[in-house]
Amino acid sequence: MSDPLLVLDHVTVRAGGRALVEDVSLSLPRGQLVALIGPNGAGKTTLIRAILGLIRHEGRIEVRGRVGYVPQHLQYDRGLPMTVLEFMALSLQRLPVALGVTRAATKRVLELLELVGAQKLARARLGGLSGGELQRVMLAGAMQNRPELLLLDEPAAGVDIEGEATFHDLIARQVRDLGVTVVLVSHDLSVVSEITDHVICLNRRLMCEGNARDLLTAETIARVFGGHKAVYGHAHGHDHTHHHNHGNHRHD
């Protein structure tokens, strides 16, 4: 692979003497939409946090570009009076946001919100946003440093199906129009098969990696997820196929 954007070389993350992620090696090219799939507790979030440099790891992680990130859950104080514009300007200007948002920051925030079709939310209160709106704002925020690698940790969790579809279209657009490589953590196999190019299957160890359509066979899914599983389509015309793991429902 010529000039990969992300290289993981024998990456292991341990906590309390236990390996949460073990001996993962892979490299990702630029301009692809990559799905990171695996059951609950497989180490998906842990691997994302290691790539972001937020937790200690063994092995080598090399990111050859700027990184944007949308966390799995934004636990924040919904009662805090803060507009979307102010929230996004927090990391775009030196002047304290409490003294006002600068003209340059306002322009940049509106550009970023336009990328996700959410310009009208600029003056909305952060605490009043719906799940889908917050997700778009977070995606716009993650794009602020013009990332080459965008890490999205189950961004569609808790969002209705229509909102989820719109969000996935937005992500696909970032890849197509801006050449961003997106790593999308998901347990939704329909997303993987419909919009992603490349799949990484993780269950503590790297279970498989390659082209989405080639890999998503019943056999691979069984091997990665294990246990009792159900694969079904939603009745709203969108052939969403979900994996449901009835084992441990632990957040990783």
């Binding site: 972001l52 937020l54 990130y69 966390p71 934004l74 636990q75 924040y76 104080d77 919904r78 009662g79 805090l80 009076p81 803060m82 507009t83 102010e86 929230f87 300007a89 927090l90 990391s91 200007q93 030196r94 304290p96 946001v97 409490a98 003294l99 006002g100 209160r125 952060l126 605490g127 925020g141």
Partner: protein, 273 residues
């Protein structure tokens, strides 16, 4: 009325008024950060710990125990911050231990203080006795609050909104948490002489809590917090003077009254969270 004006504007009460305005400014500026970071209980713990600093100053024969108070306040803040990073215990548990421990140390040390000691004024504050030396200390206090907030408010606010997100955006979260804790430790200790150990925490919590009911933006919250803090300070000072009430509790009472009014107004306007 003219008697009041003469006393506070040019007379010996000018230092008192200046002290109240400066302590109100410092707490009004910091209050939104304290409330957003859920540090209300922390500032209370540091305030209680400053009793040990006061008593230590008395034992050392310091005329004005500001140095021992500030040193002890910052030390307790750093211990709490360090335990917060390392201990699996919840912050409120750590604060409970720190508050009770430092209060106990203060009371044990007080046992060794001989002769007259003005401990009462440190518990309830002694606004009416503030002189220009106190006003200068409170001026430094306000300057610390304003400068640090001007420099770091955005990052401190991002950490308050989401620690995870701030970390991912390259903010050294632990360093900013230490900074906030030390800044609060210092400001609380320096404010104790004016408003008292028992009242200082209210000054850091009530302004932003009040402003949250009516503000629609963070800028609105910030300015409303300063406004509430200054209004409560001046109202408490003057009403306390007229009715011959202890000033610090009168200031806090004025703040709580504004809180109740803002809550009602927020419900009417639909901005109440």
């Amino acid at each position: 009325m003219t008697e009041f004006a003469a006393y506070y504007l040019g007379g010996s009460g000018t230092a008192v008024l200046a002290g109240v305005l400066l302590v109100s400014l410092a707490s009004g500026v910091l209050s939104p950060i304290v409330v957003a970071n859920r540090m209300a209980f922390f500032s209370d713990a540091v305030a209680h710990s400053s009793l040990a600093g006061v008593v230590l100053g008395m034992l050392l024969g310091l005329g004005h125990p500001v140095l021992s108070m500030a040193a002890f306040g910052v030390m307790v803040s750093l211990v709490i911050a360090s335990l917060r990073q390392r201990s699996p215990l919840a912050l409120d548990t750590l604060l409970g231990v720190a508050m009770a421990g430092s209060l106990a140390v203060g009371l044990v040390l007080y046992h060794y203080v001989r002769g007259y000691s003005d401990l009462h004024s440190y518990l309830l504050g002694q606004v009416s006795l503030l002189g220009w030396a106190d006003a200068a200390i409170l001026g430094a206090n306000a300057a610390i609050a304003v400068v640090l907030v001007a420099l770091f408010a955005n990052r401190l606010t991002l950490v308050a909104v989401s620690r995870n997100l701030a970390q991912a955006r390259g903010v050294a979260v632990a360093r900013y948490e230490y900074l906030l804790i030390v800044m609060l430790g210092l400001v609380v200790s320096l404010s104790v002489r004016a408003v008292g150990i028992l009242m200082v925490n209210a000054l850091l919590v009530v302004p932003a809590a009040t402003a949250r009911h009516v503000a629609r933006s963070f800028a609105g919250l910030f300015w409303a917090s300063i406004g509430v803090s200054l209004a409560a300070g001046v109202t408490g000072l003057l009403v306390g003077d007229v009715l011959n009430l202890p000033t610090a509790p009168a200031i806090v009472s004025a703040g709580v009254l504004l809180f109740a009014l803002a809550w009602g107004l927020g419900r009417l306007r639909g901005t109440e969270a």
